[in-house]
Symmetry: C2
Subunit: 565 residues, 2 copies
């Protein structure tokens, strides 16, 4: 039966005007013909029709068409139903970027279930904790990680939880003997080709759970909806000016914000997924040449891999390749090296809660960038071209929720709201309420507004320093120290101080064969930074990083506080 459309003027108008208007709009209603819950599943349904004979996935010697990928995903969904996966159940994966992992991005939601792709760099104890939190019904594990999963299961056996059912993904590269457990290919073979896929009845129903990288504490399960992933898939296409049928090299992990929604976006575009088990410089160059790759993305470490590749690994790049990195800002030296091969680099600011990068700065073609590395370094911090689906971005005083003035100076918290924000944290109502305070997503990142309205990211709120009542951005201090010709990398944190509250403490990594004293660094900063920003302590050594290449500042903070104790 037709459902009458609700008009927003119901509340505003007097009843007579209302009745006139209602009679106007008689004939308008929401029904199956004109309203379908948004879900990225639909991209695959369409691709099977529009791009049916075009290549969907290439992995070593294996190539699938979109029709084949669609049919395999339908069978996968059917098989999951047959072995007892119900709508709303959680299905976990622990796998590299292989074709089965791609298929699970469709097959699991097509069974009405929720996908959780887990970080394969987790050690067994952390994996065990995550599984305890997630309670998946099934876990799909690539043969490469069997041992990790067995150890995690062992650690869990003391707890009163039902272990997830294990399905092993074995491919041609697998040399280990089949285990006494279900195998991905066997599972697929029991699926029915005519299975009626389960579409969400509400587009805000959950589709996946991604864990944060945990640079600021314990990883949190971030829940995405069908609606948000559908819209974000369109947004990534828009953001990177992607044309139909691109060739995408899988250098971003599918367990990072569902590979930033690219599994779904590629189906929307009818593109080709070049799957990889391992990402090396050689594999990147070889794949680009063989498959005419157009796009790739990932953490800034992929730029490092390309920049530091050996001459015999390098190849001439036949067409333009756009590389999108998200995470710490790559250095201009690395970018220049990568661009010399013909790559066009982009940088995004984002987070798991925003379904990946929320902004895009094309490091080369932005018209703001002069051919000046210093200028470029500054521009990169300006995040202006926000995700088309992100309704609003602002820098606010978190207490009053008013915008900070556009004075290029006043620091506030970066906040946003829109349809590409998570549904919330898994099983953590307090955590969700906390970050959604005031009807905005409170990022915990600090920023300022330039006189022209541009937002410039400063620092994590947690990583900023309050010294003598002044909020100091550690990014600013790092930027200055990084200009020293002997400095390779630097991270600044606050060290507890009984008088001032905190003082800046710099951890510096020097370039090979360079040497420098703490005093030399402090002296270098004088005249370039206000007094309160000059480091009081300088330490040398390696920086602790997480798997996305983010410096673990909480580790450094402990170290800083231990100095002189």
């Amino acid at each position: 039966m037709p459902v009458a459309v609700s008009f927003y003027f119901f509340e505003h108008q007097n009843i007579k005007t209302l009745l006139v208007k209602l009679s106007y709009m008689e004939g308008c209603f929401k029904c199956e013909a004109n309203f379908v819950p948004l879900s990225p599943i639909s991209f695959l349904e369409r691709a099977a029709f529009v791009y049916r004979d075009s290549p969907s996935i290439i992995y070593g010697d294996v190539t699938y068409t979109w029709k084949e990928t669609h049919d395999r995903c339908v069978k996968l969904a059917s098989a999951l139903s047959i072995i007892g996966v119900n709508p709303g159940d959680i299905v976990a994966t622990f796998a590299p970027n292989t074709p089965p992992h791609y298929e699970l991005h469709f097959g699991v939601p097509m069974a009405g279930a929720i996908l959780s792709a887990l970080n394969t760099s987790l050690d067994p104890p952390t994996l065990a904790t995550t599984l305890q939190q997630l309670q998946p019904h099934i876990i799909f594990v690539d043969h490469q990680y069997i041992q990790t999963i067995e150890e995690a299961f062992k650690a869990l056996s003391n707890h009163k939880i039902t272990l997830p059912r294990l399905v092993v993904i074995r491919d041609n590269s697998c040399t280990i003997a089949p285990l006494n457990t279900l195998d991905y290919n066997n599972l697929l073979s029991i699926g029915k080709a005519d299975f009626k896929i389960i579409c969400p009845s509400d587009e805000c129903d959950p589709i996946s759970i991604n864990f944060t990288s945990g640079s600021t504490g314990k990883p949190k399960g971030v829940v995405y909806s069908h609606r948000s992933t559908y819209l974000n898939s369109l947004a990534v296409i828009f953001r990177y000016d992607m044309k139909k049928m691109p060739v995408f090299l899988w250098t971003v992990d599918m367990f990072r914000c569902n590979g930033w929604c690219f599994p779904w976006a590629l189906a929307a575009l009818g593109g080709t997924n070049v799957c990889l088990r391992e990402v090396t410089a050689k594999v990147i160059f070889d794949s680009i040449v063989v498959h005419n790759v157009t796009h790739m993305c990932g953490p800034p470490t992929i730029l490092d891999k390309i920049a530091s590749s050996k001459i015999d690994e390098q190849k001439m790049i036949p067409t333009r390749v756009d590389v999108i990195v998200a995470g710490p800002l790559p250095s201009s030296v690395i970018i220049s090296k990568v661009e010399k091969f013909g790559f066009v680099t982009h940088h995004g600011y984002g987070m798991t809660e925003a379904l990946g990068p929320m902004t895009d700065t094309c490091l080369r073609t932005s018209n703001l960038i002069e051919d000046d590395n210093d200028e470029r370094e500054k521009i990169k911090c300006r995040e202006r071209t926000r995700n088309i689906l992100m309704e609003d971005v602002d820098v606010k005083d978190p207490e009053t929720m008013t915008s900070v003035p556009c004075d290029g100076n006043t620091i506030g918290e970066v906040m946003f709201r829109g349809n590409v924000v998570m549904l919330g944290y898994l099983n953590n109502l307090e955590g969700t309420k906390n970050v959604f305070k005031g009807g905005w997503y409170n990022t915990g990142d600090l920023g300022i507004r330039k006189p022209n309205g541009d937002i410039v990211m400063k620092d994590r709120k947690l990583d900023s320093i309050v010294t003598n009542g002044e909020i100091v951005s550690t990014i600013e201090i790092e930027r200055v120290i990084r200009t020293h010709p002997f400095v390779k990398e630097v991270a600044v944190v606050g060290k507890r101080d009984n008088t001032l509250g905190e003082t800046p403490c710099a951890f510096v990594v020097l370039k090979d064969d360079c040497s420098l004293s703490s005093d030399a660094i402090i002296e270098y900063c004088q005249g370039m930074l206000p007094r309160c920003m000059i480091p009081v302590n300088v330490c040398f050594g390696v920086l602790p990083m997480n798997s996305t290449g983010k410096v673990l500042k909480f580790v450094l903070r402990e170290k800083a506080n231990a100095i002189g104790e």
Copy 2:
């Protein structure tokens, strides 16, 4: 307060499983931070931030930036509120593609009102009928059409309806003296720059009303929602592989499906709108050269204008220009001529009810097209690359609602469903129910499914012929007759026949300086068509067309039935 997300497994699961799952998902809810009703208004808000200093509109000597366009639209919305426009009110326009008409596409919805851009080729009596049906609160009329509107108002004065308030749009080209009525610029000047725009509280609320072209009868008011126009704006970008900041030449009327959603799509892309009062070959070539136009669209007549341009009007085209036409299939001769200038032509199948073209066939680059005009002619009819936002397209038996077999033969009705389908017909519940039968939009067009699943459009249901119990496609007959070297254009309709029900009657337009007899046409068809498809009558002369270039078959049908009476 947070609203709990509804899970679709509520209905399926037993209560114990449900409770476990609910506790899992604790922490997930819809709120202002992660759910914003979709509305194309947001594209302008974002453009004012991201593309602030880039040109939004160029019209003669006038250029606006996106910041200026945003500010003008806010003031327009404010002014509308001040003069008494309430949310839900209808605001009509009767204007060419000038900047005020563009601004009204944002300003009216920003005041919570509904925009209805009326066809400027309507004669005063038809306009009067339309206004009676629409009952707008205000009508914005370009100075060029003052006389038409005054005559329509006169015709309405006998009826007991409140006449809409008249606002005249005058620009530099206006030579007539100001009337004793509100003027667009005066109105704008009373608007407040800090007006808080009214966003829809429900994304399915109406944003605009477009009238059908009436090729099959009386024009119907088709209501669009904020959601559908938002999604279709993204879809047109996707469909034509549009990159950010394109330059769009306004050759499609804004009163056709809101210029196929391009006013909103251009704001999403931060592109430049080159507005035009009148579309001539000279203006097209001049604008392309001066402004580096990248895209234009409209009815196939714009191709005719380009193809038949005089040598002194033609210019070298500096960059690729994509021309998208929707309506009758343009002839391959015209396409070849247009392509020689450097245009890339696309053809779309669609209708007002689907927010414009629903499919896209690139006439040049499709890999299906050989360099063979005949083959191309056939391929154009295959509509495969459907709108990404259109959930499902099928050819069905309208009685049983089952799909016709993929035999390339069985004729059924083309149907679709998805988020880019109208909310319904204004004030016409029966009409809406009728086309939404069975949960699909019933197009009234006939089609078949090829063995590979491709859908081939055949004919309007109304325009097909039932002869001796057989459904015959008039398009097929037309296609054959059109291959005769002397034939310029042809339309076939059914003529009543007491024995057979109907028989085909062909109306033929011959090329200049060609002559041909009826018998010669009939003879030509023999051997190329089955007996039931060979025309029984052939007439010569001009074909009656509506303003979009569609042949008015109901006029021809009357003529055919009058033969021999």
